[in-house]
Symmetry: C2
Amino acid sequence: MKLYGYFRSSAAYRVRIALNLKGVEYETVPVHLLKDGGQQFSDSYKALNPTALVPTLVDGDLAIGQSMAILEYLEETHPEPALLPTDPAGRARVRAIAQTIACDIHPLNNLRVLKHLKHGLGVDEDTKNAWYRHWIDVGLTSVEAMLAGHPATGRFCHGDQVTLADVLLVPQVFNARRFECDLSAMPTVTRIVDACSELDAFVQAEPARQPDATD
Amino acid sequence: MKLYGYFRSSAAYRVRIALNLKGVEYETVPVHLLKDGGQQFSDSYKALNPTALVPTLVDGDLAIGQSMAILEYLEETHPEPALLPTDPAGRARVRAIAQTIACDIHPLNNLRVLKHLKHGLGVDEDTKNAWYRHWIDVGLTSVEAMLAGHPATGRFCHGDQVTLADVLLVPQVFNARRFECDLSAMPTVTRIVDACSELDAFVQAEPARQPDATD
């Protein structure tokens, strides 16, 4: 498999974690989101993924965009270790936590949106950073509420095994810390992220450890 | 089952379509997103869904938020008619189209974001509407590229059976038309939406037909 991504993309980071957890060998193909006006806009990349977003997973003839679609594909084709529980209610809870991050936090803060705020709406750097922190705060506050005190929450988001909820949570919290968001009101979130950080699959997926990483 | 939603919410609209396609009886519980400062912020609703977003599907003791998580739950618990293909590659394609809408278009344009643009960033009505149209244009242009000329595209997004891709596409195009977006460069998208509009499950899910609909 080949993973087209960018070291700082949190959507690519999710897929790296899942590939590592499942022990799937893959080749990294860097797509630099800033160089050359954004390599994701090249004709060759858009032929692979018309959304011009990263990541794209290529498995033989198949090219899949959208990290959640990729994660579900990996779950179906490489079921062990499972990253979704077996019961429909548990699967729904894990997917709801994951989608809260995938839909309600990340898309508001990704690079193209920040660029559009700056160049399309003409907002200044401080307003842009406040926007970023606002959606992280709103989103992670609701994730904290979904986790804290819920009987299914364990060492990880859902019980004591890693699931897709953790796979989504860790890159989002990584971004939150990079932008110096205040996470003091989210003790369950940070406890779970710390537990994940003890696992090699998460550590090896960190942005700074990728072949295309720069300062 | 009970579906907590709002007639104009396109995320609730998706779930209504799927419930109708699968022939699942459900009760509508209206959550008015504008009245009373937003009924989704009430303590009782947030106890059900901490994200304070609609929809929430309640099935017995289980409350599920996030429309994509709900749709996957319905697919697992009410598998007929299937809204995902059987092959992993096809499932990945359908989910990638669905997630492009669920992640890359809708969250940028939902009510809370438009309110934040207006009250948080102080943008005027014209700028807000231009923002709305911009993300629909970018997003549906890439959906058109995923569909047009792809060998798996049929009467619907993926072959000749309705899938989750169609379930997501129809409400998004409904919104696009409501905001008078130019869809002339998206003939495959509009052709498929027209095909869906011939099916009663889609028609009955339309916002204007819901018990909480107002002008």
